[in-house]
Symmetry: C2
């Protein structure tokens, strides 16, 4: 995996950059953007980072994230290089208007049919954008400082489930090994990512687990969990606390599909589906007007909880019988 | 980390070996023993593996574990090399009698004051015995087959929390990277280790989480969870299903010590304590006649649940104030 020459030339020759990443940012968006920003600063450049939603509380531990701003003057972009990181169209950053920039760059590992970007570096095989930024900084000859290393390590860790997903490769582990040598403390990162739950969030998880229904009799084994607005009120939580909750039921051996139905209005529900292996939940999401990938998809639907459960189970079993 | 020359010579020159590991075996005991056994077999040796408790269900996915036997003829050891793996005295394997062997070997990463073993290779700095076996097989020039690689990978993964504990080093990740190149599927291993819960065990976890009490007002923040014999009956589980349950409450940011009280008789309780950072739960365990390490200790106590909780909280807060 090597960055295009024209990207290296651009980063060396230009002076003013604005890095932007997607709304609802996770570790890869934040770590990749911040690592690139630190590196460009060390090269003497003028750099800003824009993420509309700011840095979620769970990522506050990451070094140097203060550089991220949640506001952006579109006017100022006119004379700057606009770099999209971990996404590939301005809309994903929350910018809805048209705007001008000196030149645009895309650095992303998501497959896409969009063609935004004067310079595009897209590697659908890369497990994380953080890995691409690592190779980019190597090619630029920038020193990997402890802050850069930690940001890249978190980026890679989050997108590989800390080396538990299928995208974990020998290459990923070797890069992670070098980042440790550059100053990352892997235990400290893991404690911050996985052992820093608020009591509120934990109470919400408990309530969600208590709603779990297992539907094991059909060809597809489905676990359904529910989070109501009443649960949010009782525990003092909100939707931002449910990150990753749709995955929890996957820990069960006898579950092919995990469904989380989260209430978002008196009779409005957001369904998040996660599947194991070959089962394609995106097909089911499509039936309900939603979308996603094979193993992670979702949709929004109006109706009573019981109706929605019934319809969804029917569709899941139909697809499973085909 | 390199194995002693006399160990290499012994393994090359002798013909008959019995490998034994500890009772309640986990991934490191099983993976290290099996990997060494496969290697010795490939060198044309006669090899047996003895683990008194056999292979727990959750490790049945590991390749070649059929070689493990849960019975042992002490008589037959007379002419064989007896190799202790991941432990350092015969008692830990469940052998209580004295017995004869041709020569004995210890390969272990646990610190010890015992002096069993004609040849002792003990590396307290090694995160897993699996890492030692890797270097041993390299030094012996044995090919790392996919079965050997997977056993070593599981051994290392289990003892480093799949690269989340403080013992995760650049070296560990580089060895893991090579094992992937030798045929390990990291995603498949992780699914087997972390996404293969039985519904029964999951139901027990739910019940345990519902008992959680947080005691946050003192200098030490304590989470207490309880598992009663009634819960085992209701969920169809037993003590072997509670592996790792004492760690669950550590995921909370505001918890310094996680305590699991598991009923083991009408008024008998087994306490397992897990702490973060500097807090030394072994000191508290000692007060109750138990033992352990700084971050993991336990004891057995008779009494009513409320009494025990009260006494334990008092001791934990006392230690926390010092």
């Amino acid at each position: 995996m090597s960055p295009p020459e024209e990207l290296l030339t651009l980063l060396k020759q230009e002076h003013s950059f604005t890095i932007a990443s997607h709304i609802n940012p996770e570790g890869d968006a934040i770590g990749s953007s911040v690592a690139l920003a630190i590196a460009l600063k060390r090269m003497g450049k003028d750099v800003g980072v824009y993420i509309k939603d700011g840095v979620p509380e769970m990522y506050h531990f990451m070094p140097a994230v203060e550089i991220i701003e949640d506001s952006l003057s579109l006017e100022s972009l006119k004379d700057r290089i606009f770099i999209l990181v971990d996404c590939n169209e301005p809309k994903r950053t929350g910018i809805e208007e048209t705007f001008q920039y000196r030149l645009s760059v895309v650095i992303d590992h998501h497959e896409t049919k969009k063609d935004f970007g004067d310079i595009r570096w897209v590697e659908p095989e890369a497990p994380a954008t953080g890995l691409m930024i690592y190779y980019l900084l190597k090619a630029l000859g920038v020193e990997i400082t402890p802050d850069i290393a930690t940001n890249l390590y978190v980026a890679i860790a989050v997108d590989t489930g800390t080396f538990r997903y299928d995208n974990t490769s020998a290459e990923v582990l070797r890069v992670a090994a070098e980042l440790i040598e550059r100053g990352v403390s892997p235990g400290w990162v893991a404690r911050n990512l996985y052992e820093s739950w608020s009591t509120r969030r934990f109470n919400l998880l408990r309530q969600m687990l208590n709603t779990m229904e297992l539907h094991n009799s059909g060809p597809v084994k489905v676990a359904i969990t529910v989070i109501t607005e009443e649960m949010f009120r009782q525990t003092g939580t909100d939707a931002s606390d449910t990150d990753d909750f749709s995955n929890v039921a996957r820990m069960l051996r006898d579950v092919d599909v995990s469904v989380l139905l989260r209430q978002d209005g008196p009779s409005k529900w957001k369904a998040s589906m996660r599947s194991k292996g070959e089962f394609n939940v995106a097909k089911v999401a499509k039936v309900f007007g939603g979308g996603g990938h094979r193993n992670a998809a979702g949709f929004i639907v109006e109706g009573s909880l019981e109706e929605i459960k019934g319809q969804l189970l029917k569709r899941l079993q139909e697809l499973g019988s085909n």
